[in-house]
Symmetry: C2
Subunit: 261 residues, 2 copies
């Protein structure tokens, strides 16, 4: 089984991508809705939550973990790798790889939560491979609550996104990494506000590409994953709002299992 | 010691009011910043958190508890009273009492988080005393993240508040209860958008009035409270953003103690 976790609803954009690109595998998703959001919390607290979530998914049969949350990937990935003996896929390096795959990328913008941007991980990852690139990053903390409220069609959301992207527009970025799994929900607005010429990298799609390539290279792990295309959605708090937004993202009615951590 | 808790930062408006109206008493505040916000979570989860917070404050010497959070007051107050043997003050009935103290109040509006409004507690409380009043309530979930981001002076915040208040304006309310301890931070905007003639009730001030009256009537409890005007701020997660917003609300530099629940 592929275990996927996020702070709440955002990681469902990764579930959507796994179901579309790797439909044969069983998925177990955990959204930590009782403690969401992560992006405004400290690295220590987010790391503690990521350890607990991973342990729970392993106990329920996960053979590979996808950290479908940029904040947890930014601050907790190394600690997770030290503590658990199974493959763990994070969202940062696949997005960086996708951004750098086009040699025309010179000025790269990154948007994410305050914790992700504050960690400086995207700058470090890009610098490792291509130190000549210019990187500009901006925290956009209000996009998460706007998406969770289902406000993706409201003019206020367009205004706030426009304001957040303004400094990146001024710097004439050519590539923009959506460094938060909530942001694909408002990808169209982001694309229209930053301009058509900018290549927008969706970290939710990039991580699933990376997962697919990893499984191709690791047949022994691939063989141990359950097949049948079943998927289980677990949450630490059950609310009507989560059900609604999950329905909107996955385009189907959802069954939620309550897990208390 | 007076123990006060909230989901995060909002309850500091109650701390500010206690320090101004009852400056001689020692205060111990707990903001549950590792699990904030409460207003988007289910009654079961919020009740569990409220029980844990209260237990911790009692262990640290609180002799009276102020639930400085409308969401926790709405869904957890009865359970708290059943589980603990000390006086517990909630924010709902003081705000209702303040609203009804003016006999001209006929159409009463209430704004709060989704959990508070969903609980229907304000309607029930007003109905108990004055069933002839008309009550209109609206959830305004985005005000909390806007305040926590420190966006109280931004035009987007004004627009969002205006949109939230529109249905209450159409119904020509004469009284508006701020049913969330975050809202006093944007009270001026709320007053200007709803109109000068509407009486705006600040639940943070109302609960401290109620606390003061309770202490006058209960000299044996008053005598057991520590004096000296010391105050301790405890949080379950320490972030720079909390420090900044706390500074803005309390108008002084703050020392934070990290408590892990």
């Amino acid at each position: 089984m592929i275990g996927i976790f996020d702070s709440g609803i955002g990681g469902l954009t990764v579930v959507r991508a796994v179901r579309s690109l790797l439909p044969e595998f069983n998925i177990c998703y955990f959204g930590d809705t009782a403690r969401t959001p992560y992006g405004t919390k400290s690295p220590e607290t987010v790391t503690r939550y990521a350890l607990e979530n991973t342990r729970m998914l392993i106990e329920r049969g996960a053979r590979i973990i996808v950290v479908a949350c940029n904040t947890a990937s930014s601050v907790a990935f190394e600690t997770l790798c030290k503590n658990f003996d199974l493959p763990i896929i994070e969202v940062i390096s696949p997005a960086v790889e996708a951004a750098l795959s086009d040699p025309r990328a010179k000025n790269i913008g990154i948007i994410g939560t305050r914790a992700t941007i504050g960690s400086g991980i995207y700058e470090r990852e890009i610098g490792k491979h291509s130190p000549e690139k210019k990187v500009f990053s901006i925290p956009c903390p209000l996009i998460v609550p706007l998406v969770e409220e289902g406000w993706q069609k409201r003019p206020e959301t367009r205004m706030i996104i426009k304001k957040y992207l303004h400094p990146l527009k001024v710097r004439q970025i050519d590539t923009l990494i959506l460094g938060c799994t909530h942001y694909p929900v408002v990808k169209d607005i982001i694309q229209s506000k930053i301009g058509k010429r900018v290549r927008v990298i969706d970290s939710s799609l990039a991580v699933v590409d990376s997962l697919a390539r990893f499984l191709e290279k690791s047949p022994e792990i691939k063989a141990r994953l359950g097949r049948g295309g079943t998927w289980t959605l677990m949450v630490s708090d059950v609310t009507e709002q989560f059900r609604k937004t999950a329905h909107m993202i996955l385009n189907t009615k959802v069954e939620l299992t309550h897990v208390r951590l």
